[in-house]
Symmetry: D2
Subunit: 338 residues, 4 copies
């Protein structure tokens, strides 16, 4: 850790800080410069965090050398983690597509949609029973009834299911009905929820928040692993930028960055990431090409009647076409469909 002192910092202040560093068992380093004095601390700098040196009046800024996450770091765990989504492998040499509607609306909608996506090659079924919606007057999801439908349909088609959990109180219920939890972008830093999911052993698909740097996403995943659940799948789904042509800016750069920093699998959601049906296919292919381990794709049996996110949902035949077109990209990326 590097501690840059203010221009007017005194030698006495530097000595006080060096003493605090030494007291923690770290090796302090004194580097007087012509315009600034810089201090260093050699050793596990996570210990140094507890000193909160950035609040000291003589300190201009603290520059950590290492990321603050450990368990999710590739440095500690060089090999790719493969998470089993009810038997479907996510990560490593595998490529998996999870599809389904934004929201569970009815048994019939789920049956029709699931038949279509399974036939086209999807290996997981997604569908929300609890929908975080910007407006209190919009459809909020079917709740428990939605979970029941999801389970029935997933069982009927022998597919693992993925559904969003928005609240600690619902974790137990969702765990009962679904194969895996999804944490939405708005809850990426709902740390209580992350801790609760860390107590489970079911897989967690953790979506990147709209204002979250990649390292923030990795720190959020660290919460889950730190509680004991290693089955985390990261998900890029777009960040908030000034561009308005897309609902969000799908940040595919995150895929190779995460691959270099973490051993966890990463999937991409081009449906939420772009918010536009016509952009889903090209961005899905791009996700494969830059190294993603899978895709979350919104498909609805009739998007023109969907109760949420119809604008970004594929028609079943569009999804089937996409799956066919994806195949050579998956092969070129050196992966095989799960």
């Amino acid at each position: 850790m590097i501690i840059v002192l203010k221009r007017n910092a005194t030698k006495a202040q530097a000595d006080e800080l060096l003493a605090r560093i030494a007291a923690l068992g770290l090796k302090p380093l004194y580097m007087p410069g012509t315009e600034r004095t810089v201090l260093g601390a050699l050793g596990d700098e996570r210990i140094l965090e507890s000193l909160h040196l950035d609040g000291h009046p003589a300190v201009e800024r603290v520059q950590p050398i290492l990321a603050q996450y450990k368990l999710v770091s590739r440095e500690m765990h060089p090999h790719d983690t493969v998470v089993s989504l009810g038997g479907v492998p996510i990560g490593g040499p595998h490529f998996a597509v999870i599809a389904g509607p934004c929201a569970v609306e009815s048994r019939e909608q789920m049956m029709t949609t699931t038949a279509a996506i399974k036939a086209a090659g999807a290996r997981g079924l997604r569908g929300g029973a609890y929908k975080p919606r910007t407006s209190p007057y919009a459809f909020q999801g079917l709740g428990r009834e939605g979970l029941e439908i999801l389970k029935e349909v997933a069982d009927h088609y022998s597919m693992p299911s993925l559904t969003e959990v928005v609240e600690v109180a619902d974790v137990e219920l969702v765990e009962e009905y679904a194969t895996a939890f999804q944490v939405g972008a708005r809850n990426m830093q709902n740390f209580r929820l992350l801790k609760a999911l860390g107590q489970s052993r079911k897989p967690v698909v953790l979506k990147r928040g709209m204002a979250a740097r990649i390292d923030d996403l990795l720190m959020a995943a660290e919460y889950i692993l730190a509680e004991g659940n290693p089955n985390v799948i990261l998900c890029e789904r777009g960040i908030q930028t000034f561009e308005t042509a897309t609902r969000n800016t799908l940040d595919l750069n995150a895929v190779p960055v995460i691959k270099s920093r973490s051993h966890l699998p990463i999937v991409v959601d081009p449906s939420h990431g772009t918010g536009v049906r016509e952009l889903v296919a090209p961005m899905a292919k791009a996700a494969v090409a830059c190294g993603a381990d899978g895709l979350l794709i919104e498909v609805h049996c009739d998007p023109s009647m969907a109760l949420s996110d119809g604008k970004q949902s594929l028609y079943p035949e569009q999804f089937a076409t996409l799956m066919r077109e994806l195949a050579p990209f998956v092969a070129a990326a050196g992966k095989t469909f799960s």
Copy 2:
């Protein structure tokens, strides 16, 4: 509501959409142009939301004319709302300063800090018992013990207290101990939490999320009002931008924008908004000048030892100076200290 059709949309598709609009009791409007056909719908366009027309394959985009919020809108409620924070008025002609440390660390820390801020003129006490922290290895707050200390100290100094609630399950406990709830930026769109707070009648300070547009903040407030709690105080605390000189970009433009769109009071948190101690005073003055109804300021009896956010906490003497310097700005803004 304006519905722009795709270039290749057919007359039959337009007719189908017009029929759906008419079936809702709205007046449909057909506007064929040289390059595009545009449809209109006159009447309460919130009804039209239920049609989800943007998912229709012939629709390029839907442009609402009105904001989706009602209860928070100044159009429905032209006069400024004044919220009582345990007797301290927030809004209208009043200007209130709420101060205190980021986190409740100990009884002694709270007693010392509170004595100082009260003497300097603060009218409310803030302090967190539950701290959402980016790292699972950082100090997470004292929890219930923190709430007990906060209540004891607030009672001792006869000040209303404000503390963050991060989880539906904690609402009851926090309500028991504190005068008002704070919803942090990361929870601004935790809609379950908002609904739970809507069931209370205690004031809620709702902080703007880091990726939230101003209208997103107003929609989040609508959740609380829609459940029956009118006592909402909005809070600008900085948004996520590319600038790195400040921790966040405090967006003071939000103050006059919100004043024009909503009747709710708005306060500003320059401590989180900038993340830098030296910037707190100038931005606090600017907040007064552009029309804010109050300030949340982090003050710690010894920031160099603070367990969180020491870098942005004022020393007690800095806070006293700020309060003196604020007075002429408050007068110039036509307000009086609560």
Copy 3:
């Protein structure tokens, strides 16, 4: 064009605005609503721009229905434009890779680098003689000498050359030495420069500005076409966001969005777009997959000694590997190498 009036706008103000619309030969439309009056204008709304209605005190906002660009629009020109870069086709079914160092540093550096990239399959040579640098104390390029070296080397290897022009006064000189002009991100809205390049018939690679929406890029291209030069190649090279893991955020969504809005070819610069050598290859593949027409790749014979942007430059052997790995992606995208 849709004109939303303020809540308190009078009927007389609406009539005044309707008269102004009618006076231009457009068909005015009056749509009184329960909460707002909305006006419409049917016809070529670009004419309406000249009325500057958004400055009127009764107008809340003006919502155009159509984009303001014409010549670059796919609506006016449905087929893909193919630009010839000195005989190398860019656009349509072709895929072209242009490579070379950030800056021309010496004849030897250019000879060595060009030999390597040509052998690996690059079809165009890039290299800057004028370098816009953030710091006045950094290497600013060799100027005319750089142009001479570039031309000599390009001629020697029979490759078309691409180099940046930063100033109207240099257009003539650059035109003499290079096959094509590059307009850098910082000059995307240097409208004088765009007009000057519109007078040429040599191809222009127009890079997206760091704060430019996609429609801003298309409007900038419109400047060049409006002056008579149809040979514009758009270039996505990253936008400014809050993410710091990458130097910029390469926004690949721009590729399919531009393909839907414009007939112009679009290439991607993953070197500047990410700023990190290790990210160039995966993002290059992703660019192919989402439909890009080509790539600009920085390659330097010894990046560890490069005078600029060494961090993002590939070693020659890395470039050769990338070219081999790109082939199946190009095939999967239904394109063939130029």
Copy 4:
């Protein structure tokens, strides 16, 4: 300067880098850690820039300790610089308001507007003869004729004039007609233009680019000072963010940040910064309160007929009201009107 090596960097690579540091006359520092080796270089790190160490394959990242600017830095020049705008002092204890229309449209428009702003207390006249416009089909300014009108009107009212220069070739002409140059946001990194203006001794108002960090603005100013012109006035005018309620996000945090880093005066343009007439007054007051040295305000004799930016232009009577209301804020800020 701190050089963080990659995890797999060898001791030989570290030694090579240390030797390169030492060869420049800087003191190298070797700091082996448990997970990373960190190198340091003590001395003038601007020298080290020339080594371009970040391109080295063993280097993960380079963290400079000091900013790269010198001449604009407050560290080198602790006292506030006061720039004379044709006799009107900008900076230090002074507060100056420069007003006028976005564009010079006609002699009559300028005469009427200038009479009004002078009567209300403005001390400088702004008006554009060259207008960089997003669309090639929009009004582009009157050019030389506009400069002539500007000069005539400014002379008539004995006010200094400020006008934008967009191109090196125009510098001489603008210098002849105007008291001071304005560099617009889109040209902030037009380094050739900055150098040309550095050759003049007339004041330069340098506007922050929409994607420019504060340090980028200071580096741009360094270009002008490095050429010999010390008369630079910085201008905050809004940055590009995701918020759409305002045209740009006026970042007032930049004012105190710049005051801490530089000795140069800083003015604020709330007209472009917000793009909304109703927001100009509150944000102007906020600019005063956080320490700005002046304001640029757009005023038009009839904004409803303005050829550009009418939406953000004040009516003359609104400007007069603003000037009256500003007075107590200027006094509270410890400044006096120029």
